[in-house]
């Protein structure tokens, strides 16, 4: 059976709805996003950095900062398309209201993905501005990071939403966060280079999303331009594209039945 085409206009309406809600509390909302990187850099960069002077020839704080930036996008975007979407879908019945308008399930899904990417970007943007204050990434090439905040946010939004489209109980998100995101956070090369680890770990890492974001971000921050960066970027684009196509279908199936 043919399903209606995705409408960007309708998706924008869903994005706007979330923005309207966010606008009411954004000042309260965004503040922790600035404290978080500050605390990380203080605790891990300076505290742990006192013991680990250098990692791959640079200060420890500079080693971890680009990766932490990307992880903040990951947390921000997935939080939006997991818990928040689940509540809107199942508890607040907001989607019941939206879907009885010209907005169709796929438009709704795309709107939530765009919003998830936006939230991820806001997390990342706050983090980035703190790094800037710490004197990191003071070069023109750093501008490349800005579109990346959104693209990586979008990728993680699709991953969160895909999980959400399958589960019936909100408790299952604990598994997603503890057994999927936390390992990503720890083993994607943010805190230590994966090159020291067994080849198998590196192979597994290649198949995971955060790793490519971390590598890309570090390359840009440290201006280590190479073709590798382009491959990491391609990986992210391809996975995001495929995942988007998949998640629009699963959400459609979930909401149109």
């Amino acid at each position: 059976m043919q399903t209606p085409k995705v409408s960007f206009r309708a998706a924008r309406r869903v994005w706007q709805r979330n923005a309207t809600v966010y606008k009411r509390t954004w000042k309260l909302n965004i503040l922790p996003n600035f404290f978080e990187p500050f605390l990380y850099l203080l605790g891990m960069g300076i505290g742990l950095g006192a013991y680990i002077n250098e990692m791959q020839g640079i200060r420890y704080i500079e080693f971890i900062a680009p990766g932490l930036l990307i992880s903040s996008i990951m947390w921000g975007a997935t939080l939006e398309t997991t818990y928040n979407v689940f509540v809107k879908m199942n508890f607040d019945r907001i989607y019941d209201g939206i879907l009885s308008t010209p907005v169709n399930p796929k438009d709704l899904a795309l709107g939530e993905l765009l919003w998830g990417a936006t939230r991820g970007s806001l997390y990342g943007g706050a983090f980035f501005s703190i790094l800037f204050l710490f004197g990191m990434g003071l070069h023109w090439g750093i501008l490349l990071i800005l579109p990346l905040l959104f693209i990586i946010g979008f990728m993680f939004a699709t991953i969160g939403l895909l999980f959400t489209s399958f589960i019936k109980e909100i408790e299952l998100f604990n598994y997603f966060f503890t057994l999927f995101l936390t390992p990503l956070f720890l083993f994607s090369g943010i805190f230590f280079p994966l090159t020291e680890l067994p080849a198998l770990v590196q192979t597994i890492a290649w198949f995971t999303p955060l790793y490519h974001g971390v590598e890309l971000s570090r390359g840009i921050f440290l201006q280590k331009w190479s073709l590798d960066l382009l491959w990491h970027f391609c990986w992210i684009l391809v996975v995001t594209g495929l995942n988007t196509a998949l998640v629009l279908r699963t959400i459609h199936g979930r909401l149109y039945r």
Binding site: M1, Q2, P4, S7, R9, A10, R13, Q16, R17, T20, V21, R24, D92, R93, I94, D96, G97, I98, L99, S100, T101, P102, V103, N104, L255, Y256, R257
Partner: protein, 310 residues
């Protein structure tokens, strides 16, 4: 009005959920500018029919056109012409009253100034002025329902779907909702509603489809249904089984039909006064004896042979 084309045409509509057949090959047509009701107990398939009409549930087979458009291939266009008040409140609790309307208007691509104008108009029509900038949480049940109806009307739909519009409301709020519904019908809006309240069906509907277990078991105007399915008057007797049997045996000839419930005996008749006098003359120990007009509830009992199960 009888010459105009039906605004909703359903032909052999089927919807299954796994092994459960929620809607079992039903047919109906709805004339524009009328109020059409689906009456039946929970689980009869009323809500599923509504959901198919406003394109959030696909059909398994059959065809369904709304405003001349097929619901499966023109989802957005069909929904553009329909306002929906869902059974469970689907208001946006993160927004205030006005923003609930404005955000909703955006889903229909209404320009900002037009949306604001329309929102204010509706806030006035549904007497929500005092709550204009209040969070939805601060509204009473009746106000929430009114806001939901207001929201459904933001795009000036020619069809308004109300899924159990007065469930959970107190009597005043119910009557207020009904009054607004009457006004909307006068404005030419076609109303589609589901209900399991007989009085609501009688109050509002020009035509009624009585649904039971996925089937339409009768379809007519409320008055015709009562006339056709039961006698216009009822004598209700509350008494124990022995007395009831005696009444039935003695007066069989005077009643057109009867229905035995757990605690009551319903006797349908053309002349309730005469029957009432006859029963009184038997001088039996009865708990209650009364006559009343037949209602949709009687029709329902007659058609399904069972009480409304909630």
């Amino acid at each position: 009005m009888s010459t105009s084309k039906p605004i909703v045409i359903a032909h052999d509509l089927i919807k299954r959920y796994g092994s459960l057949t929620a809607v079992n090959k039903i047919n109906f047509q709805i004339e524009p500018g009328t109020c059409y009701g689906f009456l039946g107990p929970n689980g009869a398939g009323k809500t599923t029919v509504m959901r198919m009409i406003y394109c959030v549930t696909p059909l398994n087979s059959g065809s369904l056109t709304v405003n001349g458009l097929d619901v499966m291939s023109n989802m957005s266009e069909v929904k553009r012409g329909i306002g929906v008040v869902t059974q469970d409140d689907s208001l946006d609790y993160d927004l205030n009253v006005l923003n609930n309307l404005l955000v909703y208007a955006r889903y229909y691509d209404l320009p900002k100034t037009q949306a604001l104008h329309r929102a204010n108009e509706l806030i006035e029509f549904f007497q929500l002025e005092e709550k204009r900038l209040e969070n939805v949480r601060a509204l009473s049940g009746g106000m929430k329902r009114r806001l939901q109806i207001a929201r459904a009307l933001i795009n000036k739909p020619n069809i308004l779907i109300l899924d159990e519009p007065s469930t959970g409301l107190d009597p005043q709020a119910r009557h207020h909702v009904w009054a607004k519904c009457h006004e909307l019908i006068e404005q030419g809006v076609t109303l589609l509603l589901t209900t399991h309240y007989m009085d609501e069906a009688e109050q509002l509907c020009d035509r009624l489809a009585v649904m039971d277990r996925g089937n339409i078991i009768a379809e007519n105007s409320p008055w015709e249904l009562i006339k056709k399915e039961v006698s216009p008057q009822v004598v209700e007797v509350r008494a124990d089984g022995k007395q009831r049997t005696r009444i039935l045996e003695r007066l069989k000839a005077n009643i057109s039909d009867h229905e035995e419930l757990s605690d009551r005996l319903l006797l349908y008749t053309e002349d309730a006064t005469a029957l009432y006098t006859d029963i009184q003359a038997m001088a039996l120990p009865l708990k209650t004896l009364l006559t009343r007009r037949s209602s949709m509830e009687d029709v329902f009992l007659k058609l399904t042979g069972r009480g409304l199960i909630d």
